[in-house]
């Protein structure tokens, strides 16, 4: 664990990313206790600029709602969607990739053609179509994001399993008469964990962006406050009240940046072989 941390900490950006991410997570977890404001309640005159009223440091939106409160509640939704949809995408992608990589015959052909079918459709367009079909509710948003983001997971896992399959310890397992399921789960998959974790950290970032884009278009759940929704609602007032788009925009940029930095740091820490001068 210590070794892991020292390799992680060698990447300065990754530490900054972790701190940024920590701030966002703390904000999301503790936020509702810090601000009693309901993000939907009108509290002041509309378009109050930031830093005018000490009770409302970030001002109000077009309907006179507290922007800080919206930002904090939005953090919860954005992180939740990012996390849950990534887990769901892993739940589809990991088994598909593992089976396709381990059984090179028809299971591989079948599963990979199926994966390619999803990959050929632009993911954002597919997400829009899916949400048109489903109801605009939070769990459907999560499902749509998961359904468009699992193919890269399947590809990655398949590649890793494909190369591990040739290793002698897999053959040793076969010779001992172990079942393929046992070999795949106990011998092969633990070695694929590191690349999956790294990819997952980046997928959370992509999912947050995707959700923001969807709610910007008004396709997300209108009953939950998210950063994308804030930007979408403020875009009509972009010229008169630019900060209403700018503030949640900055929040998205920093969160996604933090997740990417963390992903890179995890890559350094979990793939020590790729490090230069670590021979």
């Amino acid at each position: 664990m210590n070794k892991f941390w020292s390799r992680y900490a060698r990447n300065r950006g990754a530490v900054i990313g972790l701190v940024l991410l920590g701030v966002v997570v703390v904000m999301a977890v503790l936020g509702p206790f810090l601000t009693a404001q309901d993000p939907w309640r009108m509290v002041q005159r509309p378009f109050l600029p930031p830093f005018q009223d000490s009770a409302l440091p970030l001002g109000t939106d077009a309907l006179g709602r507290d922007v800080l409160s919206q930002l904090i509640h939005g953090a919860r939704v954005s992180l939740l969607i990012g996390l849950v949809s990534t887990l769901a995408a892993l739940a589809i992608g990991v088994p598909v990739g593992a089976v396709a990589g381990y059984f090179p015959g028809w299971p591989n052909d079948l599963l990979m053609r199926f994966t390619e079918f999803f990959q050929t459709i632009p993911s954002f367009a597919l997400a829009i179509v899916l949400l048109m079909i489903f109801q605009p509710q939070l769990h459907f948003v999560v499902l749509s994001i998961a359904l468009v983001s699992w193919p890269p997971v399947a590809r990655l896992v398949r590649g890793e399993v494909l190369s591990l399959r040739r290793r002698e310890f897999v053959e040793a397992g076969i010779v001992q008469g172990l079942r393929h399921r046992h070999i795949l789960i106990h011998h092969v998959m633990p070695n694929v964990l590191a690349p999956i974790i790294i990819l997952a950290s980046l997928m959370v970032a992509t999912a947050i962006l995707l959700e923001s884009s969807l709610s910007f278009l008004g396709l997300s759940d209108p009953n939950v406050m998210s950063w994308g929704y804030m930007i979408g609602a403020a875009r009509t007032a972009l010229r008169t009240a630019w900060w209403l788009s700018f503030i949640p925009g900055i929040a998205i940029v920093f969160t996604v940046l933090a997740l990417n930095l963390v992903g890179e740091g995890l890559n350094d820490a979990l793939n020590p072989k790729l490090n230069r001068g670590d021979a």
Partner: protein, 542 residues
Amino acid sequence: MSLLSVTNLTIALPKGADRPHAVKDISFDLNHGEMLCIVGESGSGKSMSANAVMGLLAEGLSVARGSITFDGQDLVRLSEAQMRTLRGRRIGMIFQEPLTALNPLMPVGRQIEEVFEAHGMLTPAARRDRVIDLLTEVGLPDPSASARAYPFQMSGGQRQRVVIAMALALEPAILIADEPTTALDVTTQAQILRLLDDLRRRHDMGVVFITHDLGVVADIADRVLVMQSGVIVEQGAASDVLLRPQHPYTQALLDAIPQLKGMTDDAPVPTAAPLLQVKGLHKQFRSGGGWLGGKPRVVTALDDISFDLQAGETIGIVGESGSGKSTLGRAIVRLQDVDRGQVLLNGRDMAALRGEALRHDRKRVQMIFQDPYSSLPPRQSIGKTLTEGQVAHGTPIAQARDRAAAILDRVGLDAGSMSRFPHEFSGGQRQRIGIARALVLDPELIVADEAVSALDVSVQAQVLDLLAGLKRDLNLSMLFITHDLRVAGQICDWLIVMQKGRIVETGDAARILNMPSSDYARGLLAALPGRDFETARAAARV
């Protein structure tokens, strides 16, 4: 005045390594036309010393003390740019694996021309002529055709000749060869050794030859330098060091070389029914072709292979790469399906089993794998590795653990190893665990595929001892696949010599190793490095 002079060279390792210095206070000289062998086991620092001379230390390593004098200048103090003009032009290098040392996408002649280009020498036409000269000199057949060939179209030995031609291109004063024949078959190795020996005499080159193989040292070295844990423990003329070693480590290394055994008369008596009967095995590999057209490449790996193995007997399968010996072993443990033929184990045809019946019968034949670093599941404790097979065949877990502990004890590891992970063990210990894994299922037959080839010579001797002991105590029946005739002679009762998928000779191990009847086996024996030395050593002992 010596050509190269290394004085008190010390290379520091980064903090946290297993020792503070990769090499410590080493000093040696190299003369014109001299073949200096640096010999040692893995981790002894022998490659590191050579890399320091080339100025090619890995990042994080640096020369802490000492000097490397060549051409009147200290190489340690030269800048990277100055080093670059020396490299190739004055000091050439040959690597272990010729396939990775060559660019796969460029004809080899072009790659040699690049060497001249990099140093801005000769006109394009002159370069091409020089390439042909070089390829002729290293003994490649039809040099102008060879120059147009891509690396993948050549054999391992031919590729190594190209690499040597590249190193020779600028007529360096020093040639550094880092295990240049380790990846080659024994007959190819003999040819390359002869070529190197010939070239250094003709060009009056000093050669630093790094190897782990004392047989090779005995054949070619003028002087020997023995390294252990980064220190030179002994150096001197080859004949002195090898026949009258002063240091106990050199002595131990020499003793660990398997001896070709003399004639014995303990040939096993055939019992009524053999344990294993292999009948008419055939296997062809096809690649290429397909629906895009083109002729598929067909390689016959097994061509009508038949033999019997008695209970308690060890049969060695020897041959060079491509002989089909590994395919045969894999076919018997059913990691490879065959086209036709039978593998009868106590009368039951293993080759015909499918699905659940096969899985159930797999425990009857177990395998010891070559690479101790990749044959154990890396993220699983040894205890789990040794019990899961038993559990899969219905043994209760407590009983399985008891048996695993007992077997571990038998292979020389304590029961506390059960809770540890593979990376906590050395190569030799891992191989012991691999052997324990094969034994734990109480198989009728064990197939060992190059089981000691990846190990250092002293560890190899220990593992061979272990196997010999197990064979005696447990009456093990074993198929021992190896490219090393000396190792085969140590452990096998009977030998099968394979070439290009066919059996060319079978017979009592001692008989084949002393009086082979086939030309191929004779060639293999003649190519063994260090044969004269062995005779000399045997004579010195008496």
